[in-house]
């Protein structure tokens, strides 16, 4: 009965989201006079290179959304309190799940540092910044950081350790030997539960996989999914950029103006942004970047004059780009990237059980299509394509999350 009501609730939510997304399309059929009453579209061009660079720099230097860190801290406090009160029976771990395109390790590391200062508790942060190149090294590294340190340093039986694994995705690879690290971690989670408290960060897709394969949720306590970011929060978070570049906001379509007539353009923009980005900060910031254009004051201006004139950035209604067409082979590659959050080319090939040369060609095509991003040697999914890619994989029998 509970499952049934949860399913109904989820279906209702999906329908609501779909209606919200399709609202402009649906209403365009009813508002017959929309074409007549709509203000003429302002002329927009690409931002001048300097302004664009400034915008990209500002976005890159933007601190993590503080709302996510606050939510983690609250959850952590609750779990910590319960465990300290009853270490024998309460869960000694918290798993924090994020979307696979969110840099969960940075969020957790920063949050845990603040939390440890605030609580005056020493934490042991797993010092991995990427997945070990040799997959067989994962277990050895975990043993070195988690087992030996704790045994050497823990002289006092009553002392308490807080072990932090910022990104569980770096502790495994979907290959024959790639799950040994997780098996080792499972054995640790069962030991010394009165003295050790675990904080584990993971991507939702990777977590679903590990749960199905290793039954990991049985070993861990509570799982906490990062909350969806609200429009107000997005507005506050992105406000420094908006103010610094004096970004103005485009008037929405007439039907949206009618629906939200009591709200200003900026509020409407951030409501659409939060909706389109499904409440994920990483997606929201990319959609925000894509929606900024240069507003041309006078259509008769030539390019030289436009370049000389003062930049006048305008944020258009936020929209997700269409997902480029992908083959069934590409789906396996993209799913593998979501499963591990990020991968090198050799690790990607190993996780697919294919040759590196074979995979490289397909990855290049996907990079050109803009679905995959490469930073140094690390391959990731472009966050702006994540919502549609998720739907595509979900409808093609891949396990994304919660289904």
């Amino acid at each position: 009965m509970v499952i049934f009501s949860v399913t109904i609730a989820r279906m209702f939510k999906q329908l609501k989201n779909w209606l919200a997304n399709q609202r402009s399309f649906l209403f365009s059929w009813y508002t017959k006079d929309s074409q007549e009453t709509q203000e003429p579209e302002r002329s927009l061009t690409e931002l001048p290179p300097e302004t664009k660079k400034q915008l990209v720099d500002l976005v890159q230097n933007l601190p993590n959304n503080p709302i996510e860190q606050e939510a983690i801290s609250v959850k952590l406090d609750e779990a910590w309190k319960r465990w300290r009160e009853d270490p024998n029976n309460a869960n000694n771990s918290v798993v924090i799940l994020s979307s696979p395109i969110t840099a969960v390790s940075i969020i957790i590391s920063e949050t845990m540092k603040k939390w440890s200062q605030q609580k005056q508790i020493d934490i042991k942060l797993l010092p991995l910044t990427a997945r070990p190149t040799e997959i067989t090294d994962i277990k050895a590294k975990l043993e070195h950081f988690l087992k030996y340190k704790s045994e050497k340093e823990n002289h006092d039986e009553k002392s308490v350790e807080v072990m932090v694994i910022p990104n569980l995705g770096w502790c495994f690879l979907r290959s024959l030997n790639g799950l040994e690290g997780i098996e080792y971690l499972q054995s640790l989670l069962c030991q010394h539960f009165q003295h050790r408290f675990w904080v584990i960060g993971a991507g939702q897709v990777g977590w679903e996989y590990l749960d199905l394969v290793c039954n990991l949720s049985a070993y861990c306590g509570e799982t906490f999914v990062l909350p969806e970011v609200s429009p107000e929060n997005l507005q506050t978070w992105l406000n420094p950029i908006v103010e610094q570049l004096s970004v103005t906001f485009d008037r929405p379509r007439i039907d949206q103006q009618l629906l939200k007539n009591d709200k200003d353009d900026q509020t409407r923009y951030f409501e659409s942004l939060a909706n389109v980005a499904e409440g994920v900060s990483t997606i929201a910031v990319q959609v925000f970047l894509k929606s900024i254009y240069q507003q041309v004051e006078n259509d008769d201006q030539n390019e030289e004059e436009q370049a000389k004139s003062k930049p006048n950035p305008l944020a258009k209604t936020p929209q997700l780009p269409n997902l480029p067409s992908i083959d069934s082979i590409d789906r396996y590659i993209l799913y593998s990237l979501l499963l591990h959050n990020d991968l090198t080319m050799s690790a990607l090939a190993e996780s697919l059980g294919d040759g590196e040369g074979e995979v490289q060609g397909r990855v290049q095509v996907l990079r050109r299509k803009g679905i995959i991003e490469q930073q140094n040697k690390i391959l990731k999914i472009n966050p702006i394509h994540y919502p549609k890619l998720k739907q595509e994989l979900d409808s093609n029998n891949f396990i994304i999350s919660g289904n």
Binding site: S175, L176, L179, L212, Y332, Y335, G353, E392, S395
Partner: protein, 293 residues
Amino acid sequence: MIKFMNIQIYWLAQSAKDAVKETAEDTKDIVSQITTGKVAQGILILLTAYTVLRILDKLILWLSEKIAKEWRLRVKQFLPFLRMVVLTTTIVVLMNLFLNLSKENILAVTGTVAVALGFAFKDYASSIIAGVVGLFESSYGVGDRVKIGENYGEVVSYGLRSVRIQTPDDNLITIPHNKIWTEAVSNANAGALEAQVVTEFYFAHEIDVNLVRKILYRVAQTSKYTALKLPIVVIIEEKPWGTMFKLKSYPLDARDEFVYKTDLTSRAKQAFAKHNFAYPRIFDVESAQSNKQ
């Protein structure tokens, strides 16, 4: 008493003779009403039906490949029904055109057709009826992976008389529907996207079965093709020549069956090679004798 029975038999024979004569006359009347215009209309209707069928075939197959995988088989399996509707409509329209479907005409034509079918097209009629029955019984549908008799493959089309199966060797086999009366039909996925794949491995008796089991589970769990929401099972069976392991699992898409099996086998063999597992040995009489000496 015998005389009374003879009279009765004579009366029955006489009335049957009359009925045949009447039917023949009715049929003659109907045939005489066929004109060139009607024949032209009939040809036009047939051509239209053929075009509609071809368009439907292409459209449904195109659509099924374009939409999400989970809907592929459902869309494909709608095709036989649509074909049946088009064919039935065409037949009814043609009959109405040529036979003027009054109660008497239907009776006359049905009698004639029944006699003709009974002798000449017995198997054909049986296949068509089996095809219609099969639509409702759903023994197999387009996209299913079936074994009928000795033939295994994916059902690629469901016609009025027969079903077409594409084998793993890319051969197209046409099997009449009436096989379902007599042959067992084995359907691997029955409308689902996944079909179980059984991969067999053989080892010597002294093998560490727990280690092999663990490796086989891991091989299936780490294959990119595996549908993890469906169960993975390893079955062990002792044979006189060694130990047999059956890895039962499901690919995300039944179409990947053979690629999946290859992936499982090759990755498992890589792992087995690392552990130097012993494979079953065929008992060599000569070497045994030489060892004795």
